[in-house]
């Protein structure tokens, strides 16, 4: 900026610009979300009103009620919470062990291979894996059981967990653990009592991303589960797409119900999210 503009004016200009851009981002982000909530409170006849209505004319909770009483969304929600929660917990435990091992004993070439391996599950189109996975689980008697999907999700989360946690463990000075081992603690003991607690923020950050991705997973849940005994929210939500009609109001309501736990969880832990990424992925 040229010198004849004073510094305060410059500062004010940039502040206003930043504010405007931020407001713009917030509006664009929230408008469809608002529409989601808006639609969830409308009766079917109003969803397609032309021109579209900004507020429901007769707001009703009917969609939500129908979801829980007719479509058994409560079952799907419970399954999602159980399956996703367990899978993330399991992948965090198993993955942390492997990550610790790599951090303390790993050689550099192995680390490069791991970087690549992390991305491997994301590269394979689910279509390529779905039938063979179904066959494997079927032989183990795990189709339409919580455990079946838990195992699959754990396996898919592991690379990401290992990748993230390895960096966190590398951050922790080796001296702390060596001091403990000199005092007589075993390797595993020092892992449990020293390394793990110090890496807690990393665990928090990793868990959030894992949760988000696993919670919304659809393809494998669709094929590997069949009834509300084990099927998850995304499957239950998609079932609202009928052959000849889609229940938009109920789908919107389902979307809201599904998103609420995640949003609350994200709000609670968002501080760790950024800090965790700072230390983990970036290295």
């Amino acid at each position: 900026m040229s010198r004849w503009v004073s510094n305060t004016t410059k500062k004010r200009f940039w502040f206003l610009t930043r504010l405007t851009l931020l407001l713009l981002a917030l509006i664009i982000t929230l408008l469809p979300v608002y529409w989601l909530v808006n639609t969830s409170l409308k009766s079917p006849v109003e969803v397609f009103a032309s021109p579209p209505t900004l507020f429901p004319q007769n707001p009703m909770l009917g969609n939500y009620v129908s979801l829980f009483y007719r479509r058994r969304l409560g079952d799907y929600l419970l399954n999602s919470l159980i399956i996703v929660g367990t899978a993330v917990l399991l992948s965090l435990s198993v993955g942390s062990l492997a990550a610790y091992s790599l951090a303390r004993f790993g050689k550099s070439r192995l680390q490069q291979k791991i970087n690549f391996w992390v991305l491997a599950p994301r590269m394979i189109p689910p279509v390529a894996l779905v039938v063979p996975l179904f066959l494997i689980l079927q032989r183990l008697g795990l189709i339409n059981k919580h455990l079946g999907l838990i195992l699959v999700y754990t396996a898919f989360n592991l690379p990401f967990v290992v990748w993230m946690m390895r960096s966190f463990f590398q951050e922790i000075p080796v001296d702390l653990e060596e001091a403990a081992m000199v005092d007589g603690a075993s390797r595993l003991r020092s892992f449990k009592d020293i390394a793990l607690p110090l890496a807690a923020p990393g665990l928090a950050a990793t868990s959030i991303f894992s949760l988000i991705i696993t919670y919304n997973e659809f393809f494998f849940a669709l094929i590997l589960t069949s009834t509300p005994a084990a099927a998850t929210l995304p499957v239950g939500t998609a079932a609202l797409i009928g052959k000849t009609q889609t229940l938009y109001g109920e789908m919107a309501a389902a979307g809201v119900v599904a998103a609420v736990p995640l949003v609350i969880f994200a709000l609670l832990v968002q501080r760790h999210l950024v800090r965790g990424l700072t230390m983990g992925a970036v290295k």
Binding site: S50, L222, I223, G242, Q245
Partner: protein
């Protein structure tokens, strides 16, 4: 190779002793796609069945494509997750042909004269009438592999306040009314249809194709949907669609129905699942203003069939109970009950029942349309042809023209595909 061997070895293991006491009946697991047309069956008839026979049921639903995926996986891997598959009638060739369905004749099912013939015929494989795809024994006797479940088809829905002197009898009448009274600025459209490429647009176009004297396949599977009559029918269809909403090329069934129920269209040919919604004030702005009839006529008059069929999975764990359900549901007394509760039956006596007709004022139109019904060609490769034709139709719709070019392009690609799949294709 090793994997295939392992699979074979494990599948030859006898099922773990699942002995059941004779008093304890197995539970029937239904697998289906979601659709309002199934509501009466699910909510009224199934509980009645459970009460009458003591056989518990479980209804599993997924979205349309999701269900097809699951059913195919289940059939292919013989997983036995489901006892009864609810199928779109155009899937029957695939499922029956690949051996995923149990042979109902062999299981001892008997049909009677009360079945609407056009509905029942769809359950046979190889097909009773029409061409047989290559790979099938031309002398094989058709066996029953599935039964009708819901008689769904394309029915004419029309506004009785606009067509005040009764349903349009001919397509020309429909076009004329559209020409006279359409007003896009007020969102008043003369016609609405599906335009999404593939199954939706092909089903919409199918009626016109046949009504103008065209066909999909001629002798020996020759592709004839680019005949002069076919081109004429497509040009007419494009003309008619100039009175439809702007975005009709991306409309699927749900938007087609919504346009009508919002009071923005004069008429449309839609699936019967919409019938019950026209008089529901929470779903429709035109309560009482929609009436039903057989689709209009040009040279021929047909209705496109899209029945829901029910088949017993070849790997079903509870075949006996599943058969009992099919027997119970297809018996004339139950069909009567079904129709009186608001469902769409498949037996003649149920269609003609006065009480049922009072409950569902569209029943008469559906029955007449059923008798004039034509299904999709009976071959397991139809989906591919449908996709080819549907893509070109969709393109023609967007261009609002080029009927001959697109039909010719589709015919060429379809013929090439058929030849590579072993069809004589003329």
């Amino acid at each position: 190779m090793a994997l295939a061997g392992a699979v074979a070895a494990v599948q030859s293991l006898p099922g773990c002793g699942r002995s059941r006491s004779p008093l304890q009946r197995g539970r029937i697991t239904f697998g289906s796609f979601a659709d309002p047309a199934l509501d009466v069956l699910k909510e009224v008839l199934l509980p009645e069945f459970e009460k009458a026979t003591g056989i518990p049921t479980e209804w599993v639903e997924a979205d349309f494509s999701g269900w097809l995926q699951k059913a195919l996986s289940d059939g292919q891997t013989k997983a036995g997750s489901f006892d009864i598959y609810v199928l779109d009638d155009l899937w029957v060739p695939r499922f029956a042909g690949a051996g995923y369905l149990a042979n109902l004749d062999e299981m001892g099912f008997h049909t009677d004269q009360d079945f609407v013939p056009t509905a029942l015929d769809l359950g046979y494989w190889p097909p009773k009438v029409g061409l047989r795809q290559p790979g099938l024994d031309p002398k094989a006797k058709p066996a029953l592999f599935s039964l009708p479940l819901i008689s769904d088809l394309q029915l004419l829905f029309y506004r009785n306040d606009i067509y005040s002197s009764g349903p349009p009898a001919s397509w020309d009448e429909v076009l004329e009314m559209a020409r006279q009274k359409s007003d896009p600025s007020k969102r008043q459209y003369g016609w609405v249809s599906r335009g999404v490429k593939g199954n939706p647009v092909v089903n919409s176009y199918f009626v016109l194709l046949h009504d103008f004297g065209g066909k999909i396949f001629g002798e020996d599977w020759k592709v004839v949907f680019n005949s002069p009559q076919a081109i004429e029918s497509l040009e007419f269809y494009l003309n008619l669609l100039s009175y439809a909403p702007e975005g009709v090329a991306e409309f699927d069934s749900d938007q087609e129905g919504e346009t009508l129920l919002q009071g923005n269209a004069f008429a449309a040919t839609m699936w019967t699942g919409w019938c019950g919604q026209t008089d529901d004030p929470t779903k429709s702005r035109v309560v009482g203003k929609i009436d039903f009839a057989v689709p209009p006529k040009k040279i021929n008059q047909i209705a496109k069939l899209g029945l829901f069929m029910a088949g017993i999975a070849a790997s079903a764990p509870n075949k006996a109970e599943a058969l009992e359900f099919l027997r119970w549901f297809s018996s004339s007394p139950t069909q009567l009950k079904f129709a009186r509760a608001g469902g769409t039956p498949f037996k003649i006596s149920a269609f003609n029942d006065a009480e049922a007709r009072k409950k569902s004022r569209w029943l008469d139109a559906i029955f007449k349309a059923l008798l004039l019904g034509v299904p999709s060609p009976r071959t397991s490769d139809w989906s591919k042809i449908e996709d080819i034709l549907g893509t070109e139709l969709n393109k023609a719709l967007i261009e609002r023209g080029g009927a001959k070019e697109h039909l010719d392009a589709a015919a060429a690609e379809a013929t090439a595909f058929l030849k590579s799949a072993g069809y004589p294709a003329g």
